[in-house]
């Protein structure tokens, strides 16, 4: 057996640059891997190679596995609506999304700019009203109520003495 010629054969085109050799080595490596490379230029060449291979070779078992998986996914229970029903859902969902968006915007705007003609009650004022109101022990005889009333009275004094508003 004769040793391979180290020199570049002019019949194969102009002598390759180091950059081209590196690119060719990357392609060779990519062809040996099952996952397509990220680099778009390399990916295109790998795709051409795989197209040639897929065209020339009969379907393999892995094709069957892929098809089975996809078919199962496509026919999963959530997809089992009849065609007209699914078509209706597909047609209506943009309107549903639009309606939801309008609702969200409406609520946001409504909150941001309350109607001045109908002043809404202030939460802090309600709290103040509660705090200023006389303490009314529920059942004076119940020890738990007495403790609660004592604590509430103490808290009210502190709150009012600090000038809450």
């Amino acid at each position: 057996m004769s040793a391979p010629d180290e020199r570049w054969n002019p019949d194969d085109g102009p002598a390759p640059t180091d950059e081209e050799r590196a690119e060719a080595a990357r392609l060779s490596d990519a062809l040996a891997r099952p996952v397509a490379p990220e680099d778009p230029a390399l990916r295109e060449l790998v795709a051409v190679a795989r197209r040639v291979h897929a065209t020339a070779h009969p379907a393999r078992d892995e094709h069957r596995a892929v098809v089975d998986r996809v078919t199962r996914q496509v026919l999963a229970p959530s997809r089992s609506l009849s065609s007209p029903a699914r078509g209706l859902v597909r047609r209506l969902w943009p309107f549903a999304v639009a309606a939801a968006a309008v609702l969200v915007v409406g609520v946001s705007v409504g909150r941001a700019k309350p109607d001045a003609s109908h002043p809404s009650p202030s939460i802090s004022r309600d709290v103040d009203d509660v705090l200023r109101a006389p303490v009314r022990p529920g059942s004076a005889s119940a020890p738990a109520t007495q403790v609660y009333d004592a604590r509430l009275s103490a808290w009210r004094e502190i709150y009012l003495s600090r000038g809450s508003r």
Binding site: A25, P34, V48, R50, T55, R69
Partner: protein
């Protein structure tokens, strides 16, 4: 027109599927999905993950549009094949702007496939689709110079190792890699630019 038994069976399946019978849909898709993937989509796309996505989209679209299918005697496969090729075209469009490859696929989608017939076996459909793809590839390969064609034939069609290919061409491994790289770049132009 009198239908053959397989054609009558396929027609009955289609009618049941159109009535919403999920089991009938499953049986229909089972019959045709493998040649659809292995002989129609993968040879046009090359990248297995992309081909799988296209198969999924094709089957979903087919289910969505099942009610639009009208039995013409050619069977279910040519209709599904057209959907698949349009999905392939959409994919090519997303990857790049309009290309010769896309134009070629559009012609193939528009082609009436006289070879297919209702009730055709999976193996027959596969064989016919593969013959079409082989013909296209053969025309592209003929445009290459002899050394490039040999490199592709040995490595990809005959699945020989790099060492065997390099030895057959009388070059080093590194030089063989360069030849194969150039050969695939040349074939990309002739076979269709993605």
């Amino acid at each position: 027109m009198v239908l053959t038994a397989p054609a009558a069976e396929e027609k009955a399946l289609v009618e049941a599927a159109q009535a919403g019978d999920v089991e009938a849909i499953r049986m229909l898709l089972d019959r045709v999905s493998r040649p659809l993937y292995a002989a129609v989509i993968l040879p046009r796309i090359g990248i297995a993950a992309d081909a799988e996505d296209i198969l999924r989209e094709t089957l979903l679209r087919a289910i969505d549009r099942l009610h639009t299918f009208h039995w013409t005697g050619a069977g279910f496969f040519p209709w599904l094949r057209q959907i698949a090729i349009h999905q392939v075209i959409d994919h090519v469009r997303r990857v790049q702007r309009r290309t010769r490859l896309e134009e070629r696929f559009e012609r193939q989608a528009a082609d009436v496939m006289p070879l297919h017939h209702a009730g055709a076996e999976e193996a027959l459909i596969d064989q016919q689709e593969r013959a079409l793809s082989l013909k296209t590839m053969s025309v592209a390969m003929d445009a290459l110079n002899d050394r490039y064609r040999t490199a592709i034939t040995l490595r990809l069609l005959e699945e020989r190792s790099r060492e065997e290919c390099a030895e057959a061409l009388g070059v080093t491994l590194g030089n063989f890699d360069v030849i194969l790289h150039r050969a695939l770049a040349a074939l990309r132009k002739a076979y269709g630019v993605r």
